[in-house]
Symmetry: C2
């Protein structure tokens, strides 16, 4: 038996099971794991059983786990758990018998023991048992003769209590199935909060029976009925996921004002804003009728959402309409508020009292931070980590979202490095640091549609999920990426479309082009994030998201693997890496001639012609460097400099993508440059 | 303007639109089509409108078409049709206003006119309009600056009134979403009958409230509730698809007898049969209680299914239990029935009277054919075309299923060649031939799971759909395949999983192997059909279908394209084909070394090691031949013979697949052999 604390030795995870040929890829890494000899066979005789009569959602979760296990292995399994544990292969022990809403800070701990004859999952809470079921699923790999779960002893619980994903459903509406499959994916990586950004200048997405003009005039018919919401609440609860609704106020509120312009700070009329950014429409904090309206809205919405927390946004008020309104200005003076910031703090205090009256605890983005606010308000820091540390120092529970903005399309490794307790948080006292509840990955959807959103969230969010669940010492990026590739496949088996719609989107660009050549081009580029895209093109809510930039995945697995191969080869030349590198470079070199006729024939792909031509040049340039390295020659400083200058030019964004394929070629050219 | 009758010039479809860079791929080909200059833009201003208040399912169909068009193009479109046709881009004219069940032989005709400013769809029936909407969707391609529908005039209607797909849900149960997405796919290719094979020795899949032991003991909990069935009936009706239920009797009836053994011809007890084939359990036609039971079952089931036809199976009775039962034998003698065949004819007559009593017309497999049966009974010929011609001669309406058995995994081109009116039908009189209603593709699922079934049905069934809809003269196989590849992509956009789950299934074979190398291997092989598999391995209902044979697609697009390239190159050597052929052969040659470590590490992939090694040999052998051809040399007769002998060996099935990649290499070797 060898005992491994993954906190300290994560790389061992993928190298030490004795009887499984393929090693499990656990993500997030458990707190503690001991590996033993042997493995449990998953065959048609596999049965799940309960030691005691299960609580209803745990029973459903066990059935769902069985169905997934069957889908994942191809092995047909009895779908119904047995009550006689002597017949069970996996026995679940959980003392909770009554269904209740999940709460912040409840135990999510579980213990999982697998031997070659049996598995046992023990957890003090249902939600802990749900986490353990996901770990069991991840343990199963093809073994010697059948699928197996290797023998292990796992003791696990999360480092942070709040591990969230925000989805913006306003910029582009996301229908119910999109939310469902993302909840499925969250469950797989043990995330526990879904933050639903419901209202903004671009859309009001919740049916309101009390104020129907909100959704009727603010959504173009694309909104969730209250039945939809109840369905998704139950769906999330089944997966141990709390739902936090966000109704953004006083800014980002154009869609409140279309039907109810009297709530605004300017006369209106208002309409849905089709473009993206920060706009002027804002509620008028000086009118009592505004608070009456919010009170009525909370009266309708707070009973719909069982969670104790309620997010009121509070971000990005530009103050333009407040400055232009003389009555508002005199209110600021008469109430001795310092300025528009003071007016927003006044508004937040009033709204906080209403939220509390309806039995909820208020949350807001970091702009809400103000000395006069009650200390139980949760602050979500999106602008920087300093605001997070400040809020914690001021006594607020706090969440980190800065560093986890998915719409920037940064590599998973970048997000993985962002630890809420690093940086400014290191100066906090232990009591202050304990106020850091966790974090939230944020998926803003200006540049994401129901078709592309999964590929913007997954698999990268699994790295954030691990950062928030696992020990701070789980920091080996190479191990993370190896496991991420495997988790990515298992998300596909759950119906997440981040991989499965890629080929169809590429083929749509040029229906008659060879798919593998399209894939070579698509794999060579990476889309720009929001910063890069908003400057390029006059986007609005109706702009089709059907170009190469939309088809391309956020982080090219193929380029990353080539970089890894080149790094290995440069460190220690070997034939196997050389052959793989050569094959890829030759594929690139030859790709443009295969695509050329399609590039001119399709208006969707035309813009990619220079990229495709450069990819072929990259192939040639990389082969030149590889040949030099192989012959133990150098390119010489002049030629190398010329090549590197050309690479810099090729890396400039075009068609809203960058040519990620430049990176491994630059490594080769630098390696072959010589003279250093 | 050029007028094209596709019946005579199908190849022109893909070569003559002036303003579209990519040509539409219509499948099935319309009866008549005229192409004009210009094209209609599909942009966010595109609207659908009705000339008159639409019947409800047509309204739903129009909304569904808009959603598909939006998903297919990425262009956000208003989801609700307009009522003011002046605002509409596509105007639908259909006089039907009242929803009614579809009936055999009703008009499915439509006329579609597209100009650069407008489109107009006219149809006398709702179902005709549904067909026209699918044609419109297929017309849309990426054009010069946006998606467009080229200007056309189409007059279309089907050649055969019955264009069915049978799905066996007994051998492996197929959950509701599987049926839904296959109905979606059928709609896309204008198929109009879903034949639901509900009961067999391996499963009873319908909830019976009157005889609950049927589904309770006959399904392991895997059955459709009556609510499920009502849902799918409505789903199919919305797509202009009739549903024919089949309750197979008197044979294939083990699952009737588990709960009701008194209906059987042997004492029992009975159980679900887990293996596949023809078994002994059979109803006892001599007992009045059997007819009372069937009467009760029909009383419950016939109102559930609105269609006029009701299928009673009637196939493959082996007579073993009848022969062994002395009371049955004396019944045969006392009723002057010739033998067991005569007894089955007696049974069919009795059942037919019951089916008629409940207001339905009976259907059966060709074994039911007997002079004493009423002439309105529909005979479905599965054993051969002779039985079809005989039934038509005897006065029966008849369907052809022989030649359309999907589980044999024949190439689409083979099915495409099977014309119901060719072969024995050519000797029929016009009146007899008119009794041939059409045909049905049959998907028996001994070797298909919910995960693999789509890949066994699609895209090949689209070729059968075209055979049954389009003119007999639409027979250009090359044109069919070109269009099939495109339809295949559009089925993926509808959620059919024949393409999208391929990579995930391959990766599951060896989670850490390079996916593109797995794909190269998977693309090089083709799975054996039922004939090949049943001898290889002791399969039962619980055997996992998760091996290379299950992941591999029925017909390798990549091998077919290589064959096409080799054929062109041999006919007329050219650099472009040569480069493509060389690239593929080099990929094959190098693939085994990339997969070797994974092949031994995964129990699922181990069996494929010899295939992978042979694929590399094929690459080397093909390159040798290609080099010879390029150098205008020959291999010489001895070497060529040695190579061809080796190829013959390599083509033998292993791991239940054949190495399809042999075919293009054989073409090259034969081409380079010389001496002829």
């Amino acid at each position: 038996m060898n005992c491994i604390r993954f906190a300290f030795l994560p790389a061992l995870l993928i190298g030490s099971f004795l009887n499984a040929e393929v090693k499990p890829a656990l993500m997030p890494l458990p707190r503690k794991m001991t590996v033993a000899d042997g493995a449990l066979r998953i065959d048609p005789k596999f049965r799940v059983g309960f030691a005691t009569r299960p609580e209803a959602r745990l029973d459903r979760a066990a059935r769902r786990m069985i169905a997934r296990l069957s889908a994942q292995t191809g092995v047909p399994l009895a779908s119904v758990p047995v009550t006689d544990t002597r017949l069970a292969t996996l026995v679940i022990e959980c003392p909770e018998t009554v269904d209740r809403p999940d709460t912040l800070g409840e135990s999510e701990a579980y213990q999982l023991d697998v031997t070659s004859s049996r598995a046992r999952l023990r957890a003090p809470t249902v939600v802990g048992a749900l986490r353990g079921l996901q770990t069991f699923l991840q343990l199963v790999v093809p073994g010697d003769g059948s699928f197996v779960a290797p023998a292990v002893h796992i003791e696990d619980e999360p480092r942070f209590a709040w591990r969230g994903l925000l989805i913006d459903v306003t910029s582009h509406f996301m229908p119910v199935p999109v939310i469902e499959r993302n909840l499925d994916a969250m469950e797989a990586v043990k995330m526990n909060v879904f933050h639903w950004h419901f209202t903004d200048d671009q859309g009001w997405r919740v049916e309101s029976k009390r104020y129907p003009k909100l959704h009727q005039l603010g959504s173009n018919g694309a909104y969730y009925t209250q039945d939809d919401i109840r369905h998704l609440l139950a769906y999330a609860h089944d997966r141990g996921i709390r739902i936090i609704p966000e109704f953004d106020m006083p800014g980002h509120s154009a869609t409140w004002l279309i039907g109810y312009p009297e709530l605004g700070s300017a006369p209106g009329p208002y309409s849905i804003i089709r473009t993206f950014g920060v706009y002027d429409p804002v509620l008028d904090p000086t009118k009592e009728s505004v608070y009456q309206f919010i009170d009525g809205l909370l009266d309708e919405m707070t009973p719909l959402f069982p969670d104790a927390y309620f997010h009121i946004g509070g971000d990005e008020v530009n103050g333009v309409h407040w400055k232009a309104n003389s009555s508002i200005q005199s209110f600021i003076r008469s109430h001795q508020l310092k300025d528009e910031g003071g007016l927003q703090a006044y508004f937040n205090q009033r709204v906080e009292a209403l939220v509390k009256k309806h039995g909820k605890t208020m949350m807001g983005w970091d702009e809400v931070l103000h000395p006069n606010l009650p200390k139980d308000i949760v602050v979500e820091s999106w602008r920087d980590r300093e605001s997070m540390a400040k809020a914690a120092r001021d006594g607020h529970p706090v969440l980190l979202s800065w560093g986890y903005y998915l719409d920037h399309l940064k590599p998973a490794g970048k997000h993985y490095e962002v630890d809420p307790l690093e940086g400014p948080a290191k100066d906090l006292t232990a009591a202050e640091a304990a106020r850091i509840l966790g974090g939230e990955a944020c998926m803003w959807t200006e540049y994401a549609s129901p078709e592309t959103i999964d590929s913007r969230i997954w698999p990268r969010t699994a790295a954030i999920a691990e950062r928030l669940w696992s020990s701070a010492n789980a920091s080996d990026v190479a191990s993370m990426y190896q496991r991420l590739d495997r988790i990515s496949d298992s998300l596909t088996w759950r119906g997440v479309t981040h991989q499965s719609n890629y080929a169809a989107m590429l083929q749509r660009l040029a229906p008659t082009a060879p798919l593998d050549a399209l894939r070579t081009l698509g794999d060579a580029v990476q889309p720009l994030g929001i910063d890069g895209r908003e400057g390029h093109h006059a986007y609005n809510q109706e702009t089709p998201l059907n170009r190469l930039v939309d088809a391309a995945r956020a982080e090219s697995v193929r380029v990353r693997r080539l970089e890894e191969g080149v790094a290995r080869y440069l460190a220690s030349p070997n034939l196997s890496d050389e052959a793989a590198i050569r094959r890829e470079l030759e594929t690139w070199r030859d790709n443009h001639s295969r695509l050329e006729s399609s590039l001119t024939a399709s208006y969707l792909l035309k813009e990619a012609a220079p990229l495709s031509a450069d990819l072929s040049r990259l192939g040639t340039m990389g082969l030149e460097a590889l040949d030099a390295l192989r012959a133990r020659k150098t390119l010489g400083p002049d030629r190398a400099k010329g090549r590197l200058d050309a690479l810099t030019l090729m890396e400039k964004p075009r068609a809203e993508v960058t040519l990620a394929a430049v990176r491994p070629v630059r490594m080769l050219v630098q390696g072959a440059a010589g003279g250093h």
